[in-house]
Structure formats: structure tokens, C-alpha cells
């Protein structure tokens, strides 16, 4: 432990996963932790803080500021202030890609498209409507229906030779379509790639992608095949920050640093 070293903490309590990061004064990522959000946000926020600090090799006393974000942002007792995940993802992405960008964030329960100008100022944003189609929850439900572990879906999708086409508007109806494809004898990798395609389509329907595209969020972190698939569909390269699942938490830590 480096005595006297000042650090900043960002905590992102999402609908599915809770993330904490510790940034040094030079904005260097010193530690992080990810856990299921569960039902007790306060408790999980304490757990991830302890783990992230341990990884960074610093103590609680060295934390100069903490900002929380995400669905459970108001349940982090040690956070000095709160920011929405829209602002924090913007901040985090602009930190890695300081130029005009369009951010696609695919989270556990919601998707966002955020547009920033060349100075990092937000021009606008959109969140998915009250429907989880095209989000992480959609893939979780499908992995359950197909009896495939969530972590195996990415590898399966990569093996697809003839992906199926699925509707993207409703998780329940998509599940019916999946069953129909199983009955038709379609291969599982082709169905999984069809599901990935459905996720991307849902996001692309939300807004026009006007600038360089950055993808973030846990779904991209765990299913990186979504990135080349998106590149193929939009015909442009897609940028991905080093730890896409942590981008919101990094943004929160950067806000903590600014507040200080």
C-alpha cells in the first residue's frame, strides 16, 4: 500500500451487475470489481468497493471522492454525489476516445445511444422504451430457453454458418420464433447468431449513428463477437474501450476527480 496516495472511486450499480473502479490521480486504473447486483444494492456496493480497493492496494482513507451511477446510484452510502449512467458513460467513453462519438451502451436491462460533440459535450441521448428486447436481459432469457450457459453464447455465435433471422421487438415472441427454428432443425450456433443480430438491430433502430461509433456495456464485454457483427452491418469500424463493462464506473470516478 502506498501511503498518502490519493484515489478516486466510481461505482456503477446496474440492473444486472455492480461495478467499482479505483482511479489514481493520473487517471490510471488501479483496481476494479464486478459482482451481480442482486437485491441488496447497499451491501453489494460495499463488497465491490472493498475488492476494488484491495486490488488497487489502497485503503478507504485514501479515497478522495466517490461518485455513484446506474440504476442503484442512490443506494451507495459512501458516494458523495450521484450522476446518471448517461453522463457517466459519456464521460468514460470520451476519456478513451476524445473526439465526436456516438456511444452504443448495451446493458443488462437498458440500451442507450448517446451522442457527444468533439469537446465531449452531450448533444442528445436515447434509451430503450419500457421493453427489454435487445438488452442483456433478452440474451439471458434466451440462454435459459436454449439451456446454454450465457458465457458460451459468444463462441457459439462465432461458429454459425447460416444465421437465422429473428424479430427484435419482443423477448417473448422472439422465444417463440426460436422454438420454431429448433423445430425446423436449425443449428444452435445459427440461432444464437440470430439472437445477436436481433440485439444489434434493436439498437440500430433507436437512433442514427452519426459519428465514430463506440460500444460499451457488459453485453459487449462478455459477447465481443457483437462488435465485428455491428461493424459488418453498419459498414464502419467500431471502437471499444479497454474494459467496456467498466466505462460507466470509470466515468463516475472521473466525475469524482473533477468534483475534488
Amino acid at each position: 500500500m502506498e501511503a498518502g496516495k490519493t484515489v478516486f472511486v466510481g461505482v456503477d450499480i446496474g440492473a444486472s451487475r455492480a461495478k467499482a473502479v479505483v482511479l489514481g490521480a493520473e487517471k490510471d486504473l488501479l483496481g476494479y470489481a464486478v459482482e451481480r447486483s442482486g437485491t441488496d444494492f447497499e451491501e453489494v456496493s460495499m463488497t465491490i468497493l472493498a475488492r476494488a480497493l484491495e486490488m488497487a492496494g489502497v485503503s478507504r482513507e485514501q479515497v478522495a471522492g466517490t461518485v455513484s451511477t446506474g440504476y442503484g446510484r442512490n443506494n451507495v452510502p459512501y458516494a458523495r454525489s450521484q450522476k446518471t449512467e448517461i453522463s457517466c458513460h459519456s464521460k468514460g467513453c470520451y476519456f478513451y476516445f476524445p473526439r465526436a462519438i456516438t456511444i452504443i451502451d448495451i446493458g443488462g436491462q437498458d440500451n442507450k445511444i448517446i451522442k457527444l460533440d468533439e469537446k465531449g459535450r452531450r448533444l442528445g441521448f436515447k434509451m430503450n422504451r419500457k421493453c427489454a428486447a435487445g438488452t442483456g436481459a433478452f440474451l439471458e432469457e434466451m440462454s435459459f430457453r436454449l439451456n446454454i450457459p450465457l458465457e458460451e453464447m459468444d463462441a457459439l455465435a462465432r461458429r454459425s454458418e447460416d444465421p437465422v433471422r429473428l424479430g427484435s421487438f419482443c423477448t417473448v415472441f422472439s422465444a417463440t420464433e426460436v422454438l420454431e427454428n429448433i423445430r425446423k432443425g436449425k443449428k444452435v450456433p445459427d440461432i444464437v447468431k440470430g439472437l445477436f443480430h436481433s440485439v444489434i438491430q434493436r439498437v440500430l433502430e433507436m437512433d442514427a449513428l452519426t459519428e465514430e461509433v463506440v460500444m460499451t456495456g457488459g453485453v459487449v464485454a462478455h459477447n465481443p463477437y457483437l462488435v465485428p457483427m455491428t461493424e459488418e452491418i453498419i459498414g464502419r469500424p467500431v471502437l471499444v474501450p479497454p474494459y467496456p463493462q467498466l466505462t460507466g464506473a470509470v466515468g463516475a470516478a472521473l466525475y469524482a476527480m473533477e468534483e475534488e
Binding site: Y71, S81, T84, I86, S87, R122, G124, F125, M127, K130
Partner: protein, 417 residues
């Protein structure tokens, strides 16, 4: 920024007690007439030809007002399924489905608000104007069939760009054709002098209501959109009466006093927003607190402006009513609407616009044909679209709304630097 911990709320309006009194008188008078049959009752759409009905001696009941009461008391969501079961889709107007559902279930929020009133007043005739939407005609038709009562109406042009003389003539003639059958039902002969007097009172009410809403242009604003949705009650149900005129004089005085004394409706007003679309009736208080907690005043709206009828002219009653009821925002073309909203943004000096995309009210959800994007591009005012509904709370995600609104305010803060 933490809205839920905030203690800022909007400032209470003193005149509210007087409004409550005249609204109670209005409903009790209707209830008495319904029970004693001493005076005829007409049901009318909220921007329908209420002046004609008053001039012919009817007491006038407005089912949309009842629909809004079902919404604000959060009874609507429980009532809607009963109408769905009768074949009225959950995707159509949730005023209609809530109101018909409530009738089927024998429920009315009037009973809660006004002890002694057990049910909505029974109509002798139902009169609609399709200027807002087709749903009102279907809504009234259900009651006409159910209660075996006559239904009359006016079919107004839609997506009107310019209100031409031909359009005015067409609507004016339809209004004049109502006189004979309505006079037969009420038993009151048409008196041109009485018509002029009602229209004069309606015009005065409208002018005063406009003056009240226009006070929001002051910085800080003395009034909020949420106040407007409540205080528009008399402009909807009592226009054409001296009570409404007297009430808006009182309210206007209070707002003017606030301006003179620099009193803000939302203390520490930091951001000023415009609301486009229907209110979320079951969340009026929650939304008011959310915005106030963010030191943001949603201070003006197209919705509250819908009861401004500047064209009313007592010396030319039918043509001027036809014009006034046709030149409303909801009747107009997308181009007209865009210009209108831009004018409002300038007049009220707002920092941004909230578009409410109400699932069951396509006619009053003006964000479905690229309007927010066009406005943002042309005048640079940030726009936010929130998904919800006027009455059906099943179509609302409070958490999503909150995150969207907080993120929007963060965006405005960032712009201001």
C-alpha cells in the same frame, strides 16, 4: 444531483380554494339536475361546441374531464381492463377505456371528491367534435347506444395547415345544423342574444386564461405546467359562465403579484422547460416534485394552451366558433405545429422541451414524425422524449422516466458550463 432527497416543491397557489369551490358547485349542480331532471344535461367533448349548449339552456358535462380525474386519482388503470373486455383495445385512448370501464364497474372519482354524488350525471344528449381525434366519437357512441340517448356531432378537418374560409364555413354550417335538434331536446328556443352573451363570457375566460399562462414568461416563472393542468379546470368545464371569468381574474392577480414580488413557483429556478403532449395524470405530483427537486420549472405547455380561443367573436358567433375550434394546435399540420412550438420556446425562454409520447394518444404525441430532431437541429434547443401514457400506468416505467429526466438536466447543466 439527487432529486429524491430534495425538499424543493412548487409553491402553493392561494386561489386553489376558490377553484375547488366553484368546481364543487359545478358538479353538485349537474348531480341535482341529473336526479331531479329539472334541467337538461349535455355531454360535450372538451373542445367541443360548449357555448351552443349553454346558450340552449343545457348544463354541460365533459367526459374528458372525468377521464382526467380517473387518471389523477390513479383509478384509471383498474378500470381500463373492463373496457378492453368489451372490445375496446388497450392501444386506444385511455380516457375512453378508463371512462367506459369505470361506468361498467359503477365507479366514479366524483364520489370521492364530492360526497353525495354516486354516479356521473345522466346525459339527455351527447355532442362531440372530432377536432381532437376520432376516439371521442366512438367514446360518446358507446354511451349513446348504452343509454339510448341521441348523439350529435361535428366532423372537423384534420392536419389543417391554413384555416381557410372553406374549412370555417364547413364547420360553421355543421354547428348551425345542431341548433334545431338541440333546441328540441332542451326545450329552449335559440336566442341570438344569449348566444352572444355566452360567447362573450367564453372569450373573456379564454383571454384571462391565456394571460395566466403567459405569466410563465417571467423569470422566475410564477406558475408551473403542473399548476396549469389543475387550474385549467374552470376553462374546460365552466367557460361561458361568469364564475370562470371571476376565477381567472383572481388567479391572474395572484400570478401578477408573484411576478411583482419576484416569487418563483419553483424556488431557485435554474432551468425552464416546455412540456409537449399530454400530462401523465397519475404522476402529476411525482413529476412536479422530480422537476422541482432539480430546480427546474416545466412552466408552459401546448396542452394547457388548448383552451385558448382567441378567435371567439360574439358578433359573429358561428364562424368565429368554427375558426376557434379548428385553429387549435391538435387540429393542425405538422409544419404548423413545428412553428407553433418554436414560437413558444422563444416566448417562454425555455432551455429545453420534454415530449411526452403517450402510448394511447397518438393525436397528442407530437414526437412521432421527427419533430424533436427537426426542432433541435433548427433552433438548437435540446429535446427529450419520455415514453408513458396519460392514464394507463401500466405503460409507464418510473425509473426510466427519472433517469431520462435527470440525465437531461445534467445535459443542460453541461451546456451551461
Amino acid at each position: 444531483m439527487e432529486a429524491s432527497k430534495a425538499t424543493v416543491t412548487r409553491k402553493k397557489i392561494e386561489a386553489t380554494a376558490e377553484m375547488n369551490r366553484i368546481m364543487a358547485d359545478y358538479f353538485y349542480e349537474l348531480d341535482r339536475a341529473s336526479k331531479t331532471k329539472e334541467q337538461k344535461i349535455a355531454w360535450c367533448t372538451s373542445v367541443g361546441p360548449a357555448e351552443i349548449l349553454r346558450a340552449l339552456g343545457f348544463l354541460v358535462f365533459f367526459p374528458e374531464n372525468h377521464g382526467a380525474m380517473l387518471g389523477s386519482t390513479r383509478l384509471a388503470t383498474e378500470m381500463i381492463p373492463a373496457a378492453n373486455a368489451l372490445g375496446y383495445s388497450p392501444d386506444i385512448c385511455s380516457y375512453l377505456t378508463a371512462d367506459i370501464g369505470a361506468y361498467v364497474k359503477g365507479v366514479t372519482p366524483l364520489s370521492r371528491a364530492y360526497p353525495g354524488i354516486e354516479r356521473v350525471p345522466e346525459p339527455d344528449v351527447l355532442v362531440f367534435n372530432t377536432n381532437q381525434c376520432r376516439d371521442v366519437q366512438d367514446w360518446f357512441s358507446w354511451y349513446a347506444r348504452k343509454l339510448k340517448k341521441p348523439i350529435l356531432g361535428i366532423t372537423t378537418h384534420c392536419a389543417v395547415n391554413e384555416v381557410t374560409e372553406n374549412i370555417v364555413r364547413s364547420v360553421s354550417l355543421q354547428m348551425q345544423e345542431l341548433i334545431e335538434p338541440l333546441s328540441r331536446i332542451s326545450g329552449v328556443p335559440f336566442d341570438p342574444e344569449r348566444m352572444r352573451e355566452v360567447l362573450r363570457l367564453s372569450r373573456e375566460c379564454s383571454d384571462l386564461w391565456k394571460a395566466v399562462l403567459d405569466t410563465a414568461a417571467a423569470v422566475p416563472s410564477p406558475i408551473t405546467f403542473f399548476d396549469g393542468t389543475i387550474h385549467m379546470g374552470p376553462a374546460v368545464v365552466l367557460r361561458g359562465t361568469p364564475q370562470a371569468v371571476a376565477y381567472y381574474r383572481l388567479l391572474l392577480r395572484e400570478m401578477q403579484e408573484r411576478i411583482q414580488n419576484g416569487v418563483a413557483a419553483v424556488e431557485g429556478e435554474k432551468f425552464r422547460l416546455y412540456w409537449e403532449g399530454m400530462p401523465v395524470w397519475g404522476r402529476l405530483n411525482a413529476h412536479s416534485q422530480l422537476f422541482a427537486g432539480l430546480k427546474t420549472n416545466v412552466l408552459a405547455s401546448t396542452y394547457c394552451n388548448s383552451w385558448i380561443f382567441t378567435a371567439f367573436d360574439p358578433d359573429d358567433p358561428f364562424d368565429s366558433m368554427a375558426r376557434a375550434y379548428t385553429e387549435l394546435f391538435i387540429v393542425r399540420s405538422e409544419d404548423y405545429k413545428e412553428k407553433y412550438i418554436k414560437n413558444m420556446v422563444e416566448f417562454f425562454r425555455v432551455d429545453g422541451i420534454i415530449f411526452h409520447d403517450a402510448k394511447t394518444c397518438p393525436n397528442n404525441s407530437n414526437c412521432r414524425y421527427g419533430m424533436p430532431q427537426r426542432i433541435q437541429e433548427s433552433i438548437g434547443v435540446p429535446c427529450l422524449v419520455i415514453n408513458g401514457d396519460l392514464n394507463d400506468l401500466r405503460l409507464i416505467s418510473d425509473e426510466q422516466t427519472k433517469t431520462n429526466i435527470e440525465a437531461f438536466i445534467e445535459q443542460l447543466e453541461e451546456r451551461r458550463g
